[in-house]
Symmetry: C2
Subunit: 302 residues, 2 copies
Protein backbone atom coordinates (compact mmCIF):
# COMPACT_ATOMS: atom_id res chain seq x y z
CA UNK A 1 0.00 0.00 0.00
CA UNK A 2 1.31 3.41 -0.98
CA UNK A 3 -0.12 6.49 0.74
CA UNK A 4 0.37 10.08 -0.30
CA UNK A 5 -0.64 12.92 1.98
CA UNK A 6 -0.67 16.35 0.34
CA UNK A 7 0.17 19.04 2.92
CA UNK A 8 0.39 21.90 0.45
CA UNK A 9 0.12 22.14 -3.32
CA UNK A 10 0.11 25.78 -4.34
CA UNK A 11 2.90 27.82 -5.83
CA UNK A 12 4.60 31.03 -4.77
CA UNK A 13 3.48 32.00 -1.29
CA UNK A 14 1.51 30.58 1.65
CA UNK A 15 -1.88 32.17 2.28
CA UNK A 16 -4.65 31.69 4.82
CA UNK A 17 -6.44 29.39 2.38
CA UNK A 18 -3.54 27.59 0.71
CA UNK A 19 -0.17 26.10 1.51
CA UNK A 20 3.00 25.82 -0.53
CA UNK A 21 4.52 22.50 -1.56
CA UNK A 22 4.98 19.69 0.93
CA UNK A 23 3.81 16.09 0.86
CA UNK A 24 4.35 12.90 2.81
CA UNK A 25 4.76 9.61 0.97
CA UNK A 26 4.34 6.38 2.91
CA UNK A 27 5.87 3.43 1.14
CA UNK A 28 6.73 0.13 2.80
CA UNK A 29 6.51 1.61 6.30
CA UNK A 30 8.92 4.42 5.50
CA UNK A 31 7.61 7.98 5.69
CA UNK A 32 9.27 10.33 3.21
CA UNK A 33 8.75 14.09 3.29
CA UNK A 34 8.95 15.71 -0.13
CA UNK A 35 9.55 19.47 -0.14
CA UNK A 36 8.89 21.60 2.90
CA UNK A 37 7.33 25.02 2.29
CA UNK A 38 6.87 27.52 5.12
CA UNK A 39 4.41 26.21 7.69
CA UNK A 40 4.93 22.52 6.88
CA UNK A 41 5.46 21.64 10.55
CA UNK A 42 2.06 23.11 11.37
CA UNK A 43 0.47 21.18 8.50
CA UNK A 44 2.04 17.99 9.84
CA UNK A 45 0.48 18.68 13.23
CA UNK A 46 -2.85 19.73 11.74
CA UNK A 47 -3.16 16.47 9.83
CA UNK A 48 -1.97 14.44 12.83
CA UNK A 49 0.94 12.90 10.98
CA UNK A 50 3.41 11.23 13.32
CA UNK A 51 6.25 13.27 11.95
CA UNK A 52 8.82 11.80 14.28
CA UNK A 53 8.69 8.89 11.81
CA UNK A 54 10.12 11.04 9.02
CA UNK A 55 13.78 10.16 8.63
CA UNK A 56 14.32 11.31 5.04
CA UNK A 57 13.44 14.68 3.55
CA UNK A 58 13.76 15.37 -0.17
CA UNK A 59 13.97 18.98 -1.37
CA UNK A 60 13.42 19.54 -5.08
CA UNK A 61 14.96 23.00 -5.34
CA UNK A 62 15.85 26.09 -3.35
CA UNK A 63 12.87 28.29 -4.13
CA UNK A 64 11.18 29.39 -0.92
CA UNK A 65 7.83 27.75 -1.61
CA UNK A 66 9.62 24.38 -1.54
CA UNK A 67 11.96 24.67 1.46
CA UNK A 68 11.42 27.69 3.75
CA UNK A 69 9.75 25.38 6.31
CA UNK A 70 12.76 23.08 6.57
CA UNK A 71 14.76 25.04 9.15
CA UNK A 72 11.69 25.28 11.40
CA UNK A 73 11.04 21.55 11.19
CA UNK A 74 14.68 20.76 11.94
CA UNK A 75 14.53 23.10 14.96
CA UNK A 76 11.29 21.59 16.22
CA UNK A 77 12.78 18.11 15.94
CA UNK A 78 15.54 19.50 18.18
CA UNK A 79 13.07 20.78 20.79
CA UNK A 80 11.23 17.46 20.73
CA UNK A 81 14.49 15.59 21.43
CA UNK A 82 14.09 13.46 18.34
CA UNK A 83 16.21 10.32 18.72
CA UNK A 84 16.58 9.25 15.07
CA UNK A 85 19.03 10.49 12.48
CA UNK A 86 17.56 12.82 9.88
CA UNK A 87 18.71 12.78 6.27
CA UNK A 88 18.19 15.74 3.95
CA UNK A 89 18.51 15.33 0.18
CA UNK A 90 18.59 18.54 -1.81
CA UNK A 91 20.55 20.88 -4.05
CA UNK A 92 24.05 21.96 -3.20
CA UNK A 93 23.77 24.92 -0.84
CA UNK A 94 21.10 23.51 1.40
CA UNK A 95 23.59 22.42 4.03
CA UNK A 96 25.15 25.87 4.28
CA UNK A 97 21.72 27.54 4.58
CA UNK A 98 20.61 25.28 7.43
CA UNK A 99 23.89 25.16 9.33
CA UNK A 100 24.33 28.95 9.15
CA UNK A 101 20.99 29.42 10.88
CA UNK A 102 21.71 26.79 13.53
CA UNK A 103 25.09 28.44 14.17
CA UNK A 104 23.56 31.89 14.73
CA UNK A 105 20.95 30.48 17.10
CA UNK A 106 23.74 28.72 18.96
CA UNK A 107 21.85 25.46 18.48
CA UNK A 108 23.05 21.99 17.71
CA UNK A 109 20.80 19.07 16.97
CA UNK A 110 20.94 16.21 19.47
CA UNK A 111 20.11 13.84 16.62
CA UNK A 112 22.34 13.09 13.63
CA UNK A 113 21.63 15.56 10.83
CA UNK A 114 23.04 14.40 7.49
CA UNK A 115 22.97 16.32 4.26
CA UNK A 116 23.14 14.60 0.89
CA UNK A 117 23.76 17.44 -1.53
CA UNK A 118 22.82 16.92 -5.14
CA UNK A 119 24.48 18.44 -8.18
CA UNK A 120 24.32 15.80 -10.91
CA UNK A 121 22.41 16.56 -14.08
CA UNK A 122 21.81 12.85 -14.64
CA UNK A 123 19.32 10.69 -12.76
CA UNK A 124 21.08 9.01 -9.85
CA UNK A 125 20.29 6.63 -7.03
CA UNK A 126 20.28 8.69 -3.82
CA UNK A 127 18.62 6.38 -1.29
CA UNK A 128 18.12 2.67 -0.93
CA UNK A 129 16.87 0.37 1.79
CA UNK A 130 15.82 -3.28 1.68
CA UNK A 131 12.55 -2.52 -0.02
CA UNK A 132 12.69 0.90 -1.65
CA UNK A 133 14.96 2.96 -3.91
CA UNK A 134 14.87 6.69 -4.55
CA UNK A 135 16.31 8.22 -7.71
CA UNK A 136 16.49 11.81 -8.87
CA UNK A 137 14.59 13.03 -11.91
CA UNK A 138 16.50 16.00 -13.38
CA UNK A 139 14.02 18.78 -14.14
CA UNK A 140 14.23 22.00 -16.11
CA UNK A 141 13.54 25.03 -13.92
CA UNK A 142 15.01 28.45 -13.19
CA UNK A 143 17.34 26.96 -10.60
CA UNK A 144 18.86 23.49 -10.24
CA UNK A 145 15.90 21.17 -9.61
CA UNK A 146 15.25 17.47 -9.17
CA UNK A 147 12.09 15.45 -9.05
CA UNK A 148 12.24 12.17 -7.14
CA UNK A 149 11.30 8.64 -8.15
CA UNK A 150 10.34 6.34 -5.28
CA UNK A 151 10.20 2.67 -6.27
CA UNK A 152 9.53 -0.51 -4.39
CA UNK A 153 12.00 -3.24 -5.11
CA UNK A 154 10.39 -6.37 -6.53
CA UNK A 155 9.41 -8.70 -3.70
CA UNK A 156 10.33 -12.39 -3.57
CA UNK A 157 8.23 -14.91 -5.48
CA UNK A 158 5.27 -16.38 -3.56
CA UNK A 159 5.10 -20.06 -2.70
CA UNK A 160 2.42 -22.11 -4.44
CA UNK A 161 1.69 -24.11 -1.30
CA UNK A 162 -0.71 -26.48 -3.05
CA UNK A 163 1.87 -27.37 -5.71
CA UNK A 164 4.63 -27.78 -3.13
CA UNK A 165 2.46 -30.21 -1.15
CA UNK A 166 1.51 -32.08 -4.29
CA UNK A 167 5.17 -32.61 -5.19
CA UNK A 168 6.17 -33.28 -1.58
CA UNK A 169 8.71 -30.41 -1.43
CA UNK A 170 10.26 -30.09 2.03
CA UNK A 171 10.18 -26.71 3.81
CA UNK A 172 13.97 -26.38 3.70
CA UNK A 173 13.64 -25.71 -0.05
CA UNK A 174 11.05 -22.94 0.34
CA UNK A 175 13.57 -20.08 0.47
CA UNK A 176 15.25 -21.35 -2.68
CA UNK A 177 11.85 -21.40 -4.43
CA UNK A 178 11.00 -17.89 -3.20
CA UNK A 179 14.31 -16.72 -4.63
CA UNK A 180 13.35 -18.16 -8.05
CA UNK A 181 15.31 -21.41 -7.95
CA UNK A 182 14.24 -24.65 -9.65
CA UNK A 183 14.10 -27.91 -7.67
CA UNK A 184 15.58 -31.26 -8.72
CA UNK A 185 13.54 -34.16 -7.33
CA UNK A 186 15.14 -37.34 -5.90
CA UNK A 187 14.15 -39.14 -9.08
CA UNK A 188 16.17 -36.59 -11.05
CA UNK A 189 13.11 -34.82 -12.40
CA UNK A 190 13.50 -31.01 -12.62
CA UNK A 191 10.61 -28.89 -11.33
CA UNK A 192 10.78 -25.43 -12.86
CA UNK A 193 10.27 -22.58 -10.40
CA UNK A 194 7.10 -21.27 -12.05
CA UNK A 195 5.36 -24.57 -11.24
CA UNK A 196 6.04 -24.08 -7.52
CA UNK A 197 5.59 -20.32 -7.13
CA UNK A 198 3.60 -17.30 -8.17
CA UNK A 199 4.88 -13.93 -9.36
CA UNK A 200 5.56 -11.41 -6.57
CA UNK A 201 3.08 -8.60 -5.99
CA UNK A 202 3.53 -5.86 -8.59
CA UNK A 203 5.77 -3.06 -7.31
CA UNK A 204 4.46 0.40 -6.73
CA UNK A 205 6.22 3.58 -7.64
CA UNK A 206 5.74 7.33 -7.27
CA UNK A 207 7.33 10.09 -9.32
CA UNK A 208 7.29 13.65 -7.97
CA UNK A 209 8.00 16.23 -10.69
CA UNK A 210 7.87 19.86 -9.54
CA UNK A 211 8.85 22.47 -10.62
CA UNK A 212 9.56 22.01 -14.30
CA UNK A 213 9.11 23.19 -17.83
CA UNK A 214 7.46 20.60 -20.10
CA UNK A 215 10.30 18.17 -20.73
CA UNK A 216 9.95 14.84 -22.53
CA UNK A 217 13.42 13.84 -21.41
CA UNK A 218 11.95 12.72 -18.09
CA UNK A 219 9.71 10.15 -19.79
CA UNK A 220 12.19 7.23 -19.81
CA UNK A 221 12.86 7.77 -16.09
CA UNK A 222 9.23 7.82 -15.02
CA UNK A 223 7.96 5.23 -17.54
CA UNK A 224 5.11 3.09 -16.18
CA UNK A 225 5.13 4.54 -12.65
CA UNK A 226 2.04 3.84 -10.58
CA UNK A 227 1.51 7.52 -9.78
CA UNK A 228 3.00 10.66 -11.28
CA UNK A 229 2.69 14.01 -9.51
CA UNK A 230 3.44 16.61 -12.16
CA UNK A 231 3.25 20.34 -11.61
CA UNK A 232 0.58 22.27 -13.51
CA UNK A 233 1.15 25.84 -12.48
CA UNK A 234 -0.89 27.20 -15.38
CA UNK A 235 -3.77 26.44 -17.70
CA UNK A 236 -3.21 26.37 -21.46
CA UNK A 237 -4.82 29.80 -21.85
CA UNK A 238 -1.82 31.21 -19.97
CA UNK A 239 0.79 29.04 -21.69
CA UNK A 240 2.90 32.07 -22.57
CA UNK A 241 3.74 32.31 -18.87
CA UNK A 242 5.38 28.88 -18.86
CA UNK A 243 8.56 29.72 -20.70
CA UNK A 244 9.77 32.70 -18.64
CA UNK A 245 8.79 31.09 -15.33
CA UNK A 246 9.77 27.54 -16.45
CA UNK A 247 6.53 25.91 -15.42
CA UNK A 248 3.99 23.62 -17.12
CA UNK A 249 0.30 23.60 -17.96
CA UNK A 250 -2.22 20.94 -16.96
CA UNK A 251 -2.32 19.73 -20.55
CA UNK A 252 1.45 19.40 -20.66
CA UNK A 253 1.43 17.43 -17.41
CA UNK A 254 -1.17 15.11 -18.94
CA UNK A 255 0.89 14.73 -22.10
CA UNK A 256 3.87 13.60 -20.04
CA UNK A 257 1.60 11.19 -18.13
CA UNK A 258 0.25 9.74 -21.37
CA UNK A 259 3.64 9.43 -23.04
CA UNK A 260 5.14 7.77 -19.97
CA UNK A 261 2.08 5.50 -19.69
CA UNK A 262 1.76 6.10 -15.96
CA UNK A 263 -1.06 4.63 -13.90
CA UNK A 264 -2.41 7.85 -12.40
CA UNK A 265 -1.62 11.54 -12.68
CA UNK A 266 -1.90 13.99 -9.78
CA UNK A 267 -1.85 17.68 -10.66
CA UNK A 268 -0.57 20.39 -8.33
CA UNK A 269 1.54 23.51 -7.78
CA UNK A 270 -1.30 25.68 -9.01
CA UNK A 271 -0.79 29.36 -9.50
CA UNK A 272 -2.92 31.26 -7.01
CA UNK A 273 -4.41 33.25 -9.90
CA UNK A 274 -6.97 30.51 -10.50
CA UNK A 275 -10.10 30.09 -8.44
CA UNK A 276 -11.55 26.92 -9.95
CA UNK A 277 -9.25 23.90 -9.84
CA UNK A 278 -11.76 21.81 -11.80
CA UNK A 279 -10.48 23.57 -14.93
CA UNK A 280 -7.10 21.88 -14.41
CA UNK A 281 -8.71 18.45 -14.25
CA UNK A 282 -10.85 19.12 -17.33
CA UNK A 283 -7.88 20.31 -19.33
CA UNK A 284 -5.74 17.31 -18.37
CA UNK A 285 -8.62 14.89 -19.00
CA UNK A 286 -8.65 15.84 -22.65
CA UNK A 287 -5.29 14.06 -22.95
CA UNK A 288 -5.22 11.53 -20.10
CA UNK A 289 -8.00 9.85 -18.20
CA UNK A 290 -6.84 9.02 -14.69
CA UNK A 291 -6.28 12.49 -13.34
CA UNK A 292 -6.58 13.60 -9.74
CA UNK A 293 -6.28 17.07 -8.28
CA UNK A 294 -3.92 17.60 -5.37
CA UNK A 295 -5.58 19.62 -2.61
CA UNK A 296 -4.13 20.75 0.71
CA UNK A 297 -4.81 18.01 3.24
CA UNK A 298 -5.93 15.40 0.70
CA UNK A 299 -4.89 11.77 1.16
CA UNK A 300 -4.39 9.31 -1.66
CA UNK A 301 -4.06 5.52 -1.36
CA UNK A 302 -2.80 3.38 -4.21
Amino acid sequence: MMKLHILGCYSATPRTISQTTAQVLELNNEMFLIDCGEGTQVQLRKHKIKFGRINHIFISHLHGDHFYGLIGLISTFMLLNRPNDLHIYGPKGIKEIILLQLKHSNSYTGYGLYFHELSSKESELIYENEKVTVRTIPLKHRVYTNGFLFEEKPGRRKLNIEACEKWGIETCYFNKIKDGGDITMENGELLKNEVLSFDPDPVQSYAFCSDTLYDEQIVPIIKDVTVLYHESTFLEKDIERCKPTMHSTAKQAATIAKTAEVGHLILGHYSTRYGDLALFEQEANEVFEKVYLAEDGKKFKF
Copy 2:
Protein backbone atom coordinates in the same frame (compact mmCIF):
# COMPACT_ATOMS: atom_id res chain seq x y z
CA MET B 1 -3.01 56.75 19.10
CA MET B 2 -0.75 53.75 19.44
CA LYS B 3 -1.99 50.39 18.19
CA LEU B 4 -0.41 47.02 18.86
CA HIS B 5 -1.49 43.94 16.95
CA ILE B 6 -0.24 40.64 18.37
CA LEU B 7 0.25 38.10 15.56
CA GLY B 8 1.88 35.45 17.71
CA CYS B 9 2.95 35.31 21.34
CA TYR B 10 4.07 31.79 22.17
CA SER B 11 7.57 30.46 22.56
CA ALA B 12 9.46 27.65 20.88
CA THR B 13 7.49 26.35 17.92
CA PRO B 14 4.39 27.19 15.87
CA ARG B 15 1.40 24.89 16.37
CA THR B 16 -2.09 24.66 14.94
CA ILE B 17 -3.41 26.59 17.93
CA SER B 18 -0.58 29.04 18.57
CA GLN B 19 1.93 31.19 16.74
CA THR B 20 5.46 32.22 17.60
CA THR B 21 6.48 35.82 18.20
CA ALA B 22 5.46 38.58 15.80
CA GLN B 23 3.64 41.84 16.38
CA VAL B 24 2.81 45.01 14.50
CA LEU B 25 3.09 48.37 16.22
CA GLU B 26 1.36 51.37 14.66
CA LEU B 27 2.72 54.64 15.92
CA ASN B 28 2.25 57.98 14.19
CA ASN B 29 1.21 56.36 10.91
CA GLU B 30 4.28 54.16 10.76
CA MET B 31 3.77 50.40 10.88
CA PHE B 32 6.63 48.55 12.55
CA LEU B 33 6.93 44.76 12.52
CA ILE B 34 8.62 43.36 15.62
CA ASP B 35 9.96 39.82 15.27
CA CYS B 36 8.80 37.48 12.57
CA GLY B 37 8.31 33.83 13.52
CA GLU B 38 7.47 31.19 10.92
CA GLY B 39 4.07 31.85 9.37
CA THR B 40 4.04 35.59 10.11
CA GLN B 41 3.11 36.43 6.52
CA VAL B 42 0.01 34.23 6.82
CA GLN B 43 -0.89 35.88 10.14
CA LEU B 44 -0.59 39.28 8.47
CA ARG B 45 -3.02 38.15 5.77
CA LYS B 46 -5.35 36.46 8.25
CA HIS B 47 -5.68 39.64 10.28
CA LYS B 48 -6.03 41.77 7.14
CA ILE B 49 -3.08 43.96 7.95
CA LYS B 50 -1.94 46.05 4.99
CA PHE B 51 1.56 44.70 5.25
CA GLY B 52 2.82 46.61 2.24
CA ARG B 53 2.91 49.51 4.71
CA ILE B 54 5.61 47.81 6.79
CA ASN B 55 8.92 49.48 5.95
CA HIS B 56 10.85 48.62 9.10
CA ILE B 57 11.28 45.19 10.68
CA PHE B 58 12.96 44.73 14.05
CA ILE B 59 14.32 41.30 14.97
CA SER B 60 15.19 40.78 18.63
CA HIS B 61 17.43 37.74 18.22
CA LEU B 62 18.24 34.84 15.94
CA HIS B 63 16.24 32.08 17.59
CA GLY B 64 13.85 30.52 15.10
CA ASP B 65 10.65 31.42 16.92
CA HIS B 66 11.54 35.09 16.38
CA PHE B 67 12.76 35.19 12.78
CA TYR B 68 12.13 32.06 10.67
CA GLY B 69 9.26 33.85 8.91
CA LEU B 70 11.44 36.73 7.74
CA ILE B 71 12.82 35.14 4.57
CA GLY B 72 9.30 34.17 3.47
CA LEU B 73 7.98 37.68 4.04
CA ILE B 74 10.90 39.21 2.13
CA SER B 75 10.24 36.78 -0.75
CA THR B 76 6.53 37.51 -0.79
CA PHE B 77 7.23 41.24 -0.90
CA MET B 78 9.32 40.39 -3.99
CA LEU B 79 6.44 38.51 -5.66
CA LEU B 80 4.07 41.37 -4.85
CA ASN B 81 6.42 43.85 -6.53
CA ARG B 82 6.63 45.95 -3.42
CA PRO B 83 7.77 49.47 -4.36
CA ASN B 84 9.12 50.73 -1.01
CA ASP B 85 12.50 50.14 0.55
CA LEU B 86 12.52 47.65 3.40
CA HIS B 87 14.78 48.06 6.43
CA ILE B 88 15.72 45.15 8.67
CA TYR B 89 17.20 45.77 12.11
CA GLY B 90 18.62 42.72 13.84
CA PRO B 91 21.67 40.95 15.20
CA LYS B 92 24.82 40.61 13.19
CA GLY B 93 24.42 37.57 10.95
CA ILE B 94 20.89 38.29 9.80
CA LYS B 95 22.07 39.79 6.52
CA GLU B 96 24.17 36.75 5.64
CA ILE B 97 21.28 34.38 6.45
CA ILE B 98 18.81 36.23 4.23
CA LEU B 99 21.16 36.98 1.33
CA LEU B 100 22.44 33.39 1.21
CA GLN B 101 18.90 32.14 0.68
CA LEU B 102 18.12 34.77 -1.94
CA LYS B 103 21.34 33.85 -3.75
CA HIS B 104 20.50 30.15 -3.90
CA SER B 105 17.00 30.88 -5.19
CA ASN B 106 18.55 33.12 -7.81
CA SER B 107 16.27 35.91 -6.60
CA TYR B 108 16.89 39.59 -6.15
CA THR B 109 14.45 41.99 -4.58
CA GLY B 110 13.12 44.70 -6.87
CA TYR B 111 12.82 46.95 -3.82
CA GLY B 112 15.69 48.26 -1.73
CA LEU B 113 16.52 45.82 1.04
CA TYR B 114 18.69 47.37 3.75
CA PHE B 115 20.13 45.62 6.75
CA HIS B 116 21.06 47.45 9.94
CA GLU B 117 23.03 44.89 11.87
CA LEU B 118 23.28 45.34 15.62
CA SER B 119 26.14 44.32 17.86
CA SER B 120 26.34 46.97 20.59
CA LYS B 121 25.80 45.93 24.18
CA GLU B 122 24.65 49.45 25.06
CA SER B 123 21.27 50.96 24.22
CA GLU B 124 21.56 52.85 20.95
CA LEU B 125 19.37 54.92 18.64
CA ILE B 126 18.73 52.78 15.54
CA TYR B 127 15.87 54.60 13.80
CA GLU B 128 14.50 58.09 13.78
CA ASN B 129 11.96 59.98 11.73
CA GLU B 130 10.25 63.32 12.34
CA LYS B 131 7.98 61.92 15.00
CA VAL B 132 9.39 58.68 16.35
CA THR B 133 12.66 57.23 17.64
CA VAL B 134 13.60 53.60 18.12
CA ARG B 135 16.30 52.53 20.55
CA THR B 136 17.63 49.11 21.47
CA ILE B 137 17.16 47.62 24.91
CA PRO B 138 20.04 45.20 25.54
CA LEU B 139 18.61 41.98 26.98
CA LYS B 140 20.16 38.95 28.66
CA HIS B 141 19.45 35.77 26.72
CA ARG B 142 21.28 32.72 25.40
CA VAL B 143 22.23 34.57 22.22
CA TYR B 144 22.76 38.27 21.51
CA THR B 145 19.33 39.88 21.99
CA ASN B 146 17.80 43.33 21.94
CA GLY B 147 14.43 44.62 22.95
CA PHE B 148 13.22 47.78 21.25
CA LEU B 149 11.94 51.07 22.66
CA PHE B 150 9.60 53.00 20.36
CA GLU B 151 9.03 56.59 21.47
CA GLU B 152 7.10 59.46 20.04
CA LYS B 153 9.03 62.69 20.00
CA PRO B 154 7.33 65.46 21.98
CA GLY B 155 4.99 67.38 19.70
CA ARG B 156 4.97 71.17 19.36
CA ARG B 157 3.12 73.24 21.95
CA LYS B 158 -0.56 73.94 21.20
CA LEU B 159 -1.80 77.47 20.57
CA ASN B 160 -4.12 78.95 23.15
CA ILE B 161 -6.26 80.63 20.50
CA GLU B 162 -8.40 82.51 23.03
CA ALA B 163 -5.34 84.04 24.69
CA CYS B 164 -3.77 84.93 21.34
CA GLU B 165 -6.94 86.73 20.28
CA LYS B 166 -7.17 88.52 23.62
CA TRP B 167 -3.63 89.85 23.21
CA GLY B 168 -4.09 90.52 19.52
CA ILE B 169 -1.20 88.28 18.42
CA GLU B 170 -0.85 88.14 14.64
CA THR B 171 -0.76 84.76 12.92
CA CYS B 172 2.83 85.24 11.74
CA TYR B 173 3.90 84.67 15.36
CA PHE B 174 2.01 81.39 15.78
CA ASN B 175 4.91 79.15 14.72
CA LYS B 176 7.20 80.90 17.17
CA ILE B 177 4.66 80.30 19.94
CA LYS B 178 4.24 76.62 18.99
CA ASP B 179 8.01 76.27 19.18
CA GLY B 180 7.93 77.61 22.77
CA GLY B 181 9.00 81.23 22.13
CA ASP B 182 7.86 84.24 24.18
CA ILE B 183 6.37 87.30 22.45
CA THR B 184 7.34 90.96 23.03
CA MET B 185 4.39 93.28 22.47
CA GLU B 186 4.72 96.66 20.68
CA ASN B 187 4.47 98.35 24.07
CA GLY B 188 7.50 96.40 25.23
CA GLU B 189 5.53 94.04 27.42
CA LEU B 190 6.80 90.42 27.41
CA LEU B 191 4.19 87.66 27.08
CA LYS B 192 5.59 84.39 28.37
CA ASN B 193 4.94 81.39 26.14
CA GLU B 194 2.87 79.50 28.71
CA VAL B 195 0.30 82.32 28.61
CA LEU B 196 -0.22 81.81 24.88
CA SER B 197 0.05 78.03 24.55
CA PHE B 198 -0.75 74.70 26.12
CA ASP B 199 1.56 71.75 26.71
CA PRO B 200 1.81 69.33 23.77
CA ASP B 201 -0.04 66.02 23.96
CA PRO B 202 1.83 63.56 26.16
CA VAL B 203 4.08 61.27 24.14
CA GLN B 204 3.44 57.57 23.90
CA SER B 205 6.04 54.88 24.06
CA TYR B 206 6.27 51.12 23.72
CA ALA B 207 8.99 48.84 25.01
CA PHE B 208 9.28 45.31 23.63
CA CYS B 209 11.39 43.04 25.85
CA SER B 210 11.65 39.44 24.68
CA ASP B 211 13.48 37.13 25.27
CA THR B 212 15.26 37.88 28.52
CA LEU B 213 16.29 36.75 31.94
CA TYR B 214 14.98 39.00 34.74
CA ASP B 215 17.28 42.01 34.47
CA GLU B 216 16.84 45.26 36.41
CA GLN B 217 19.44 46.93 34.22
CA ILE B 218 16.75 47.60 31.62
CA VAL B 219 14.70 49.68 34.08
CA PRO B 220 16.36 53.07 33.38
CA ILE B 221 15.84 52.55 29.63
CA ILE B 222 12.16 51.68 29.84
CA LYS B 223 11.30 54.03 32.74
CA ASP B 224 7.77 55.44 32.47
CA VAL B 225 6.92 53.92 29.10
CA THR B 226 3.23 53.86 28.22
CA VAL B 227 3.27 50.12 27.50
CA LEU B 228 5.80 47.43 28.31
CA TYR B 229 5.66 44.03 26.61
CA HIS B 230 7.77 41.75 28.76
CA GLU B 231 8.21 38.07 28.18
CA SER B 232 6.83 35.67 30.77
CA THR B 233 7.77 32.26 29.48
CA PHE B 234 7.17 30.61 32.85
CA LEU B 235 5.14 30.83 36.03
CA GLU B 236 6.91 31.15 39.40
CA LYS B 237 6.30 27.48 40.17
CA ASP B 238 8.71 26.67 37.35
CA ILE B 239 11.21 29.42 38.16
CA GLU B 240 14.09 26.94 38.17
CA ARG B 241 13.67 26.74 34.39
CA CYS B 242 14.44 30.46 33.96
CA LYS B 243 18.15 30.38 34.60
CA PRO B 244 19.22 27.65 32.15
CA THR B 245 16.86 28.89 29.41
CA MET B 246 17.37 32.59 30.27
CA HIS B 247 13.70 33.46 30.43
CA SER B 248 11.44 35.21 32.98
CA THR B 249 8.33 34.47 35.02
CA ALA B 250 5.12 36.50 35.02
CA LYS B 251 5.98 37.78 38.49
CA GLN B 252 9.41 38.91 37.33
CA ALA B 253 7.86 40.72 34.35
CA ALA B 254 5.50 42.48 36.74
CA THR B 255 8.36 43.41 39.05
CA ILE B 256 10.16 45.07 36.14
CA ALA B 257 6.92 46.88 35.21
CA LYS B 258 6.46 48.12 38.77
CA THR B 259 10.07 49.20 39.21
CA ALA B 260 10.06 51.04 35.88
CA GLU B 261 6.68 52.59 36.71
CA VAL B 262 5.27 51.79 33.29
CA GLY B 263 1.67 52.54 32.34
CA HIS B 264 0.60 49.06 31.27
CA LEU B 265 2.22 45.64 31.13
CA ILE B 266 1.52 43.08 28.41
CA LEU B 267 2.65 39.52 29.09
CA GLY B 268 3.62 37.05 26.35
CA HIS B 269 6.06 34.44 25.01
CA TYR B 270 4.33 31.77 27.05
CA SER B 271 5.75 28.30 27.20
CA THR B 272 3.38 25.90 25.50
CA ARG B 273 3.41 23.75 28.66
CA TYR B 274 0.67 25.90 30.19
CA GLY B 275 -3.00 25.55 29.32
CA ASP B 276 -4.49 28.39 31.34
CA LEU B 277 -3.08 31.84 30.57
CA ALA B 278 -5.17 33.41 33.34
CA LEU B 279 -2.57 32.09 35.80
CA PHE B 280 0.00 34.44 34.23
CA GLU B 281 -2.27 37.43 34.75
CA GLN B 282 -3.06 36.44 38.34
CA GLU B 283 0.60 35.99 39.18
CA ALA B 284 1.59 39.34 37.67
CA ASN B 285 -1.35 41.11 39.32
CA GLU B 286 0.06 40.31 42.74
CA VAL B 287 2.85 42.78 41.94
CA PHE B 288 1.42 45.14 39.33
CA GLU B 289 -2.14 46.12 38.54
CA LYS B 290 -2.44 47.06 34.88
CA VAL B 291 -1.62 43.73 33.30
CA TYR B 292 -2.88 42.45 29.94
CA LEU B 293 -2.35 39.07 28.35
CA ALA B 294 -1.05 38.94 24.80
CA GLU B 295 -3.06 36.52 22.67
CA ASP B 296 -2.61 35.61 19.03
CA GLY B 297 -4.66 38.04 16.97
CA LYS B 298 -5.41 40.44 19.86
CA LYS B 299 -5.38 44.18 19.20
CA PHE B 300 -4.49 46.81 21.77
CA LYS B 301 -5.08 50.55 21.53
CA PHE B 302 -3.43 53.04 23.87
